[in-house]
Amino acid sequence: MQTLVIYDIVDDRLRTKISETCKDYGLQRIQYSAFFGYLNRNRREELQQRLKRLLGRKEGNIQIYPLCDKDMALRVEIQYKPPPVRE
């Protein structure tokens, strides 16, 4: 299932570890603290355990959302890129 992982972590080193772990599971970075990609149930639970262990008793919040195809179809993206500044 497509899975969205978002997190809020204070510690820089820990945040890097979290993002590295997400990449190890084949997830793609979609925002600074948001990863997205396909994970089956087992892999998702594995990732959950790992992230839980990584966070331990440090301050932070991690959220993992499995998204069904039906909901995925309703996904929208709103984006604006400012034009490059002219000198």
């Binding site: 590295e20 990449k23 084949g26």
Partner: protein, 333 residues
């Protein structure tokens, strides 16, 4: 995964395989989603950490020369654990099992060659009726040659190897003759050249077979078999005869069909200094790997060709242990 950039570095970062060119990261893939790593260029370095992780995850690392000829392979030293299979495999050479296997491989090869001809005939029924007819006639002649396999009687392979080779050779002559007609005018092809080919079509085939060998040897190793102990192909040191035997039933369907299709659709292979250029080799590799991912009917279900190959290797192992049957894989048209 294929690494074919000169000077690339294959390393490990966290639990991902990373391919770098200088400082630039070319690819980064989690080990869990890598099946095999094939190094197909000179000047590539691989870190010991990457090797260790690959081996632990059961990922085989292959090294291919520019013409697609494998020259090294890294696998776990613990993979040869199943001794009974290997013992029986080597013993099978001397009795009816070896005979039956050799027959199966040739049978599978010819039937797949026939089906590849029919596959290309299908699209030509209306546009070139004469060629369509000749393809079917050749298929019939090949089938008659194939039938001779069942007249052979002996107690082991050695006794009738010559006759089997003759059957295989006569079918192959018909086959390559017709392949030549199918690609006529697209690319120069005067006949099949196994080694040291300098024409694009033969070079493409040889390169494609190189990739097929890697896939096959991986499947055989995983099934606990000894790649160097063949039946049809005579033992010679340094020659993985079981791999060569085993690929016979896959060659035509996986490689020939793919490359003939590329050529008939107008792909123009590029050569330099008598070798395929890097982009051409890449294209051949991509198409062949794509074919391995495509599905075929097998044992009443649809399976990826590479899965079928793995299953066939396991059937081969159970067959030499006298625990099951072995029947060649024949894809339809």
């Amino acid at each position: 995964m294929i690494v074919d950039q000169y000077g690339a570095f294959v390393g490990k970062r966290s639990e991902r395989l990373v391919v770098r060119q200088g400082k630039e990261v070319l690819v980064e893939v989690p080990f869990v989603s890598v099946e095999q790593v094939t190094i197909a260029s000179g000047g590539v370095s691989v870190s010991s950490d990457a090797i260790r992780e690959c081996v632990e995850q059961g990922i085989q690392i292959n090294f291919l020369s520019g013409s697609g000829k494998p020259y090294a392979k890294i696998t776990s030293p613990h993979l040869s654990g199943m001794v009974i299979t290997r013992r029986e495999q080597l013993l099978a050479y001397y009795d009816e099992r070896g005979l039956q296997l050799a027959r199966s491989f040739v049978e599978g090869k010819i039937r797949n060659q026939i089906n590849v001809l029919k596959y290309f005939a299908k699209h030509r029924r209306s546009i070139d009726a004469a060629l369509h007819r000749r393809l079917y006639e050749a298929a019939e002649r090949m089938d008659a040659v194939r039938a001779e396999l069942h007249d052979l009687e002996a107690s082991n392979v050695e006794a009738i190897r010559g006759q089997m080779m003759s059957i295989e050779g006569r079918a192959a002559d018909e086959y390559w003759q017709m392949v030549g007609e199918v690609i006529l005018g697209k690319v120069e092809f005067v006949g099949r050249e196994r080694r040291g080919a300098t024409d694009p079509f033969n070079s493409m085939l040889n390169y494609g077979y190189g990739i097929l060998y890697q896939q096959a040897s991986g499947a055989l190793l995983l099934a606990g078999l000894e790649p160097y102990g063949g039946f049809l192909h005579a033992d010679r040191s340094g020659k993985p005869s079981l791999v060569l035997d085993f690929v016979e039933e896959f060659r035509a369907q996986v490689v020939d069909r793919t490359i003939i299709a590329m050529i008939s659709r107008g792909f123009e292979p590029q050569m330099e200094e008598g070798r395929l250029t890097q982009p051409t080799r890449r294209e051949v590799a991509d198409r062949v790997l794509e074919r391995l991912e495509s599905t075929e009917r097998y044992e009443g279900e649809k399976h990826k060709v590479k899965t079928i190959m793995q299953r066939q290797a396991r059937h081969l192992a159970t067959f030499v242990r006298r625990e099951g049957n072995y029947r060649p894989f024949v894809a339809t048209w």
